[in-house]
Amino acid sequence: MNQQPTLILGALIFAIGAVGLLVRRNPLVMFMCVELMLNAVNLTFVSFSRSLNDVGGQVVVFFVLVVAAAEVVVGLAIILSIMRRRPNATADDLTMLKG
């Protein structure tokens, strides 16, 4: 099976996610971009796992999914509480942790 299309698709999704993370200011959208990047990587893992006949890549995917789920729980909660306190805040407004 030819791997090229899946790898190209993965790279594309990753690039979309990365650019979205850099250009958008809405925290929720930035968060979704991170998820995009993670899943792009998952796609790449799975396709390499198929071509190399190594189940290890799929195991890693499961790890990533579990960690991403945990991250979503924490991240969404933070974003939600920020939005309650400061509606319409963008990522650039939240600079309280500057040195």
């Binding site: 990522a91 650039d92 040195g99």
Partner: protein, 663 residues
Amino acid sequence: MQHALWLIPALPLVGFLLLVVGGRKLGDPRSGILATAMVAGSFLATVAVFVDLLGKPAEERALTQTLFTWLPSGNLKIGMGFLADPLSVTMCLFVTGVGALIHLYAIGYMKGDPKFSKFFLYLNLFVFSMLMLVLGDNLLLTFLGWEGVGACSYFLISFWHTDPANATAGKKAFVTNRIGDWGFMVGTFLTWTTVGSINYLDINAAATAGTIAGATAIAIGVLFFVAATGKSAQLPLFVWLPDAMAGPTPVSALIHAATMVTSGVYLLVRLNPVLLSAGWANDLIAWVGAITALVAATVAISQNDIKKVLAYSTVSQLGYLFLAIGTGNYVAAIFHMVTHAFFKALLFLGSGSVIHGMSHDQDMRHYGNLKKYMPITAGTFIIGWLSIAGVPPFSGFWSKDEILAGAYNFGSAGKVLWFIGLITALLTAFYMTRQVIMTFFGEEKWRNIGTDADLVPVTAHAHADSDGGTDSADAHDDHHVLTPDHTPHESPWTMTVPLIVLGGLALVGGVLNLPFVDKFELLKRWLEPTLAGEQELPHGATLFGLAVVAVVVGLVGIGFAGLVYNRKRIDPALIEREEFAKGWWIDSSYAWFMGGPGRVFFDGVAWFDGHVIDGAVNGAATLVRGAGLRLKRVQNGQVRSYAMGIAAGAVLLVGFFVTRMGF
């Protein structure tokens, strides 16, 4: 009975801790009894170890016991270990034995003092530290004890600290001792780098095998001798000991005559295999010892304070001990150390008894005819006097004679050293006779206080009755200034019993090591396993001749003093010269130097420290701080700029791998 070993230092430590917790509640005299019992128990434990050692063949007489590893640090593992061999057990026997007697004496002497229990707390701590010093099987443990006794010495000298003079004397002792401690520390470092161990058995084995040799051995010998000059009051660091007499008299007897000041001697004898290969360090030790003995003896002639005479006498006798060590005569050093502990503790306690009976006046010019009022004190004091003056068969004669005989046999300079020792013996006999006559014989001079214009006026003594409203509860109703109608009294039994016991020991102490017949040289045969080599003493007729000369010289000193002070044929002013009274201005020239040129130098050092050393440290801090202030701008709190940084970094990394690593 190896298990009794740890009990020796543990008992005084327990006594100390109990007194810390409940000393005030126990009060006077129960806290003193507790402290005395602890030291007496420690003495019994020492006797048990001693008997155990006696039952073994000579070469197996070394017990070690390591309780736990004290400092594990890389190659350096220091155990809390004790070493009991003939040398350390001999020291322990007289430290705990004489210590217990002095504790008993102090119950009487300190009666009614507001800080009674605190006094015994310090005394027990001192005995504990001293036993750690003696029993420790390595240099660091000895150093622990060394500093411990130094601290206790400081506490006890300035015990009546409400008088600024006492507090200053304590500080002087402490600071002077620190100079010597420097030698101890550097000596320990040097030993560690040379041998790789600071355990005595390893050091002495290495010295015997020749690992420590040449310049290193000399350096180690000199450094530990510097330590000893501080603790054992030798030139040039002896100035603290006469001032240390500001402490209560039992302290002077225990710490500044019998035990602590001999720790320098003990240290050097402990390391005697190192000294054997230390070349000219031995000559240095012998000469410093001999000159100290002579100088201190001359100073003692002109002192009028009863305790100051004994203080300079102690410095002088310690000089003898170092003379013995320098001439390789270690048995004689230990022998004289033991007999000196007996008779000097006796003399100090006797002087304390006199001071106690004379309203704490210490000026001998106010004494006289006290034998009538204090027969026991006078009798025992006279035994101590004959012993230190070297009259046979008292103990001091045997030990001093052995030191002089050893010096006589010491190379080309030996005759000179022997002659200095002989002159010192003459002076010793002289000033001790002077003291005995002024104190116990002649007229009752305090009767003339106020009426005789020539008599030195009485100054209020430095006793700290004033620091609390306890005078009414004070058992002495005579803690006041000496007056003409004063009637001296004999001291209570707690004070006279130690005097009698020590008097007996001073009388017969010589049997420890009788010359001429090998079989009677008990101490020599006992100490032999711990000594790497022993100098040969003169034999037969020479030894006998030297002894006769020493006795004649001693008797001349006594007779001459009798002529001056009893018969009054010669004006004492001719002999009590000013340079003697002022201690050859050694002390005052130190003070002048430290206040004048020394001060400028120290100020310079302080400036260097403040500006250059601190400047370097502060400069480094400023540099880091400035860099941090600039770098913190990167942390601007904008998540997207961090993401940009990560992305750029990832791109750069990928670029690096692709172009450089050839993927």
